[in-house]
Symmetry: C2
Subunit: 218 residues, 2 copies
Amino acid sequence: MLLTPKKPQRSTAKLRDPEGTRESLLQAAFREVYRYGFQSAGIDAILAATNVTKGALYHHFGSKEALGHAIIEEIIAEITKDRWLRPLEQSKDKNPIDALIGIVQAIPARPRDVKRGCPLVNLTQEMSLLDEQFRKRLERIFRAWQEGIATALRKGQQTGTVRHDLDPEEAASFLIAMVEGYEVLAKNAQDAKVWNMGIKNIRNWLSSLRAPGTGKGG
Amino acid sequence: MLLTPKKPQRSTAKLRDPEGTRESLLQAAFREVYRYGFQSAGIDAILAATNVTKGALYHHFGSKEALGHAIIEEIIAEITKDRWLRPLEQSKDKNPIDALIGIVQAIPARPRDVKRGCPLVNLTQEMSLLDEQFRKRLERIFRAWQEGIATALRKGQQTGTVRHDLDPEEAASFLIAMVEGYEVLAKNAQDAKVWNMGIKNIRNWLSSLRAPGTGKGG
DNA sequence: CCGCGTACATACTGGTTGGTATGTTGTTGA
DNA sequence: TCAACAACATACCAACCAGTATGTACGCGG
């Protein structure tokens, strides 16, 4: 007899809860990947951060790669939506520049977040070149992000709050590049002050996109 | 007898050449780290890319970490100096904005480079949070980079080619953030077009720093 | 009440990895 | 001329790590 059958200590409430285990696994895996990177995040470390066993993990995900894909599609994509896309859609009628300034300022400046950087950039840097599957999934998020900003700017042009002499797509990617670039700088410095200075500069740049004669508020 | 003594095939020219082995080791290690990241770059893979053995590697470097430190200080720092600091110093009397535009445009847009991104950013993203020794060395490079740009801008303010209503340090870090940010975007897209669009936008921004009445050329 | 599928749990493995122990060879200073 | 040392080369190892083989517990349809 090779296996000593472990007495099953699942609480009765946990019976038939297929999504609970998967979800907590995903969350723990995200935290580990966010901190150490995908390749350095160990399966055993992820497991240790939960009360889930290896059998359960490989029941829900076919491989470490599949787990990584799920992290991108179910966690990182959601963060982007929560932070950028939904706020932009909800403030449809407002001046999009004010909305964008609000969003940028709302990005957490807590030391913990600044030090870890942006999950999207972290994974992009690590995996884009190495694994096409990862890259494609990450690119989808970038595209949606850029598209969301561009759409808001285009609407602003129609309602006259945004300058007409700019290409919405180009301005959107410029904004993303600035945000990501400052996050890299702040992560290296491990200092929230760098990030706060970045916010200030990004805000100034965003203000320069206002249509002439359009003050703050809209 | 455990070891079959290998017939020493060092060419007579290679006798007493302490720097040659070390240097080629460093170059190969840099290439591997650049491509796969520090943690994923295997010692054996580095060795396979050269005709150097493990004994030689551990003779010159105490550990993989020490090798990583040497890569930062001897290779990546040099790249930054070559690409940014020396060109800025050599064009002392010229308009610094023109010099900066020239530097940005000179950053290679070859697909190979775009796809691999910036070595400095790659290592920062991977290691800053995990290893303080790495972070400190990388931060030194960032600081020197920012300081070089800021100094050039300050001189431009004195000679009247750069607007006075900007903080040179702040503008320098803004420029760096833009460059790094676009490199992240281009790396994710794996497309040089993204990078070329970034150059265009950065150039426009740089031009906006000119003192009023100062045309191109200085 | 029974068989079958889902949802796990545990032990194990084969390959990889950074690092080391121990050897040899050529040079150089005394 | 010879001992000491730098500069390697080779074989080996212990730890780690993704993945698997094989088991059990539970619930549900029939």
